[in-house]
Symmetry: C2
Subunit: 576 residues, 2 copies
């Protein structure tokens, strides 16, 4: 019952029609990306995720990772499955070829991350964060650091973590207090406490490479004074094997609503003043290096929304095709039918399909733009910068909505843990929070991204969207709404812009997704044959264009509302 | 931190301006309902819920009710708190005066149920279901049954349960198989298994009065053949005290996502062929009797949405007024502020306030109509019949949305169980499912309720709404949308009607709530002074009218979409 079937036809369709993966292989950097390779990865990753990771999803939730003074123990079976992941080389896809990676496009590894996240969202977090650490070292590390750390991070033999948050420094990273004191030998002594560190401690690898934001002595306040350090759990012996303990401890793990298999650690660095770190990048250049990691992570978190939505949709579909209950309303027969025949259940399922496909198209599209950015296409890079907050926020909002519909399709059984629908709902709820809350994403959109290149990045996107939306009246109207609201916000006060940020983010996300769904609809119409996959693609696209797009237009009023509507009353009134 | 403050000013305002509780006291049935009594109940119930029930909410979640072969044990402190509830007479409010009740209006007891649900949603379920059993006996029981069972149900010394569901009979009650065989002495032998029975077994009372739907021999198939039986856990001695065990067992309880303190029981009746039941109402008249219970329970479940939304809003507000993080965007000062000063946090809080107030107004309004129906006002009764699916579905949808916003306001801490925000989110998710899923409510609306009195009930409501919406352009437009869609659905095929049911239910709910918020806005403007409560009332009403109402208009396309959009593709395509 709790199985996962990789949506290979859908993934391939989006890679071909939205990412246009064939174009990538035209470039010598990605010359290996033949359609045979794409197929091999699609099928291999799907099989691996379904076979090795999906069966551990329930035990991961029920047993969870456990803390003891000796360390963190992952649930039964995780160690073996992680070993198979390393063994199969699944971690190496995007890693640089000089360090053992395959140098493949992010759009292709997105498929793998989607599969792993669908199969086991909590487990997949460790796989998601190591490539972010690789990116940070690739762009900001020294040659020696790369040689020393990257090969094992690329394979996943060691995992990487991101250490930003401290109790007083969450969204406000600049408030962090962890100290890094230079020792005169090129190393630093690290001391401080970090919270919410995903897989900060566990039993899956023989070393853990923490990337830690900290403040050097006399550094200025705020984000300007922050530097990034590489802080391993174990220092390395001369032969590169893990040696001396580096005074890095996991003090406790959090008791969370979901993703129980993923240990969320409170990490303590340098309790005994014996924690060594190495600077990555410039001193006081930590934020830049961290953004390299974060942008990658934000795209991946958006993809998690797709993953969990896909899994929930599959489960709900399976249940609705089996569960027999009630005769069809208005039918002459009083015979009970499977609930997929009831209109409202089918409405929920089609909505789940449409939202999941839309979020996937957006996430893959952004990954494909990143690949083009890597090839030197500055416009593509600028566009993905603009789209990153949309991928993260809308993708995760879709994850929450779709998993909630999944619970609802199951009826009373959806609330019982054994069906798994409840776990998806609980797991999904973290994704709008971490890697920058969705409110932070919305602020990033209206605060930094709308104004990129004086608004030209948005204008170019809207222009492409209009071209692709021809003939779709509600979508065209939504695009006009986006343009009007963006124009309004460009001249608004910061307060007004921030008040409108979230509704505007949703408006623009649905417009972009509507465009990508319209493109897919046309592509599906062009394809020969009338396979079931194509029939669903067309139906999901039509549902999105005919129902989700018009529904979203209702947000225009909120996106134009002034901050006065929020700040026009005394804060005390909220507690009255 | 995890406290609850009864929203007394708000509750009184809605009772006065929406329920118009003063009008009720003009009738001799409710002559006792003086404003002193209203105040005493508002304050007493609020204090009781906050003082006795709220402190048990966490332990209820963490420990939960536990099953053993000997029975079900509720969490520590529940027995004492339940005793205080009975002792304080809080169960007796609406009970008939002849049987120890106070005969007060449902609108007044709704305040008490709201308070109890906010304080401890899982616990409040036992308090919610006993009055439904009282209603069933009052309307359908014999005089002897009433004398025998009602006094202790009214006080809560014994609790009542509703037994509809069986594994194959959920939404389709007519598929149930539990048998009731007449013994020739006026009693029946009951045999069968029921699932999802809330508080079907526990340690809080010395008897449990199950109201059980079952099928007599030779009864026709489907709902027509169903009868209602009273089946106590213990038969009564001649002096009315609980005596011989009645062969009623709790076989197991479910492992649920939330409401852990509420045991959801699998009940087995007559394992040893020694379970006696008494017919309530006519043989094969069970559905009518059950609807008496269900309508009451549906209004109460809608109210649960209000309860949990209120609790989540209070928690989020408290957190947002304390948590310091980041400087305000665009501010000259780089000083970090409490997060309530950030626009997007304030947007979430105001949305939570507005949605909660709107759902409360709807729930109380429906309760007030029920009270008028009890006084013989047939129009009021017809209107509450129309509104019941809205109260249940929209109220619980609001509960889910608001508790989700509550998690989001807490940021990373919202996902950690210790803040309680996650519990509200998990608890709230049952309410769109039980007592008829929200999809069933939508089907009830378009299937039965729209056509009440040939559409005159809806027409009369829309006419009142239009009168109250004067000057509010988006609301007026939404009311027109409702009328247009209703007109369209009246002549649509059943399939089309069912496909549009849920979007239409939301459209109409928001229109009704918009109307009730507009009425409150006018009332607040008429009141002297500018207390913080009135300022928030006006701001919440404006937010609802200016943002929620326009947003909802976007659903019109979905409410007009034909079923072809759902059924136009092969079911197999959903699994492709």
């Amino acid at each position: 019952m709790l199985t996962y079937t990789p949506p290979i036809a859908e993934q391939r369709f989006v890679l071909q029609n939205i990412v246009k993966v064939d174009e990538l292989s035209g470039h010598n950097v990605f010359a290996d990306v033949t359609s045979d390779l794409v197929d091999a990865i699609l099928e291999g990753a799907g099989q691996f995720a379904a076979g090795e990771f999906a069966p551990l999803n329930r035990v991961g939730d029920e047993v969870g990772s456990k803390w003891s003074p000796e360390g963190v123990t992952t649930p039964p079976g995780f160690k073996e499955a992680y070993g198979a992941y390393v063994e199969g080389g699944w971690g190496t896809l995007t890693g640089p070829t000089e360090y053992g990676g395959q140098g493949l496009p992010l759009s292709l590894s997105s498929v793998v991350m989607e599969d792993l996240g669908s199969a086991n969202m909590a487990f997949s977090l460790i796989m998601m964060l190591s490539p972010a650490a690789v990116e940070a070292l690739k762009h900001h590390g020294t040659e020696e650091q790369r040689r020393t750390w990257m090969p094992k991070l690329v394979t996943g033999e060691w995992n990487g973590t991101m250490n930003l948050t401290e109790p007083q420094a969450g969204s406000d990273v600049g408030a962090l207090k962890t100290r890094a004191v230079p020792q005169g030998d090129g190393t630093y002594r690290i001391k401080g406490q970090k919270i919410f560190i995903t897989f900060g401690e566990h039993d899956l690898t023989d070393n853990i490479v923490h990337l830690v934001l900290a403040r050097t002595p006399d550094a200025p306040e705020g984000t300007r004074g922050i530097s990034l350090f590489l802080v391993p759990k174990f220092r390395l012996n001369d032969d590169g094997t893990p040696g001396e303990f580096n005074d890095v401890r996991c003090v406790s793990i959090e008791h969370k609503m979901g993703i129980h298999a993923s240990p969320t650690c409170v990490m303590s660095y340098g309790d005994r003043d014996d924690c060594v770190g190495w600077l990555v990048g410039e001193e006081q250049g930590g934020m830049r290096a961290m953004f390299t990691m974060m942008n990658n992570a934000r795209l991946n978190v958006g993809l998690q929304g797709v993953s969990i939505a896909e899994r929930a949709t599959q489960a709900a579909t399976r249940y609705a095709r089996e569960r027999v209950q009630s005769a069809k309303a208005g039918s002459a027969s009083r015979e009970s039918v499977r609930i997929i025949e009831h209109a409202d259940v089918r409405r929920m399922l089609l909505r789940m399909k449409a939202l999941t496909q839309a979020a996937r198209a957006l996430a893959y599209y952004a990954a494909g733009l990143t690949d083009r950015g890597q090839l030197g296409d500055a416009d593509a890079q600028a566009r993905v910068d603009l789209l990153t907050p949309l991928v993260k926020a809308y993708g995760t909002d879709v994850g929450v909505e779709v998993t909630s519909l999944g619970v609802q399709v199951h009826g009373g059984m959806g609330y019982i843990e054994e069906t798994g629908a409840a776990q998806h709902y609980r797991d999904a709820r973290i994704s709008p929070i971490y890697e920058g809350t969705n409110g932070i994403q919305a602020a990033d959109l209206v605060g930094r991204k709308l104004g990129l290149e004086g608004g030209a990045v948005l204008a170019s996107l809207l222009s492409d969207m209009r071209a692709g939306a021809a003939g779709e009246a509600p979508l065209m109207a939504l695009i006009e709404d986006c343009e009007a609201v963006a124009g309004h916000l460009a001249t608004s006060s910061t307060d007004d812009r921030m008040a409108a940020a979230y509704p505007f983010l949703t408006l623009l996300s649905v417009a972009v997704c509507g465009w990508l769904m319209a493109l897919q609809l046309r592509a599906a119409e062009r394809e020969d044959g009338d396979s079931r996959f194509l029939a669903m693609k067309k139906a999901a696209a039509r549902f999105y264009l005919d129902q989700v797009v018009p529904e979203t237009r209702g947000l225009r009023a909120a996106a134009m509302a002034p901050a006065e509507s929020l700040f026009g009353l005394d804060e005390e009134a909220f507690s009255a």
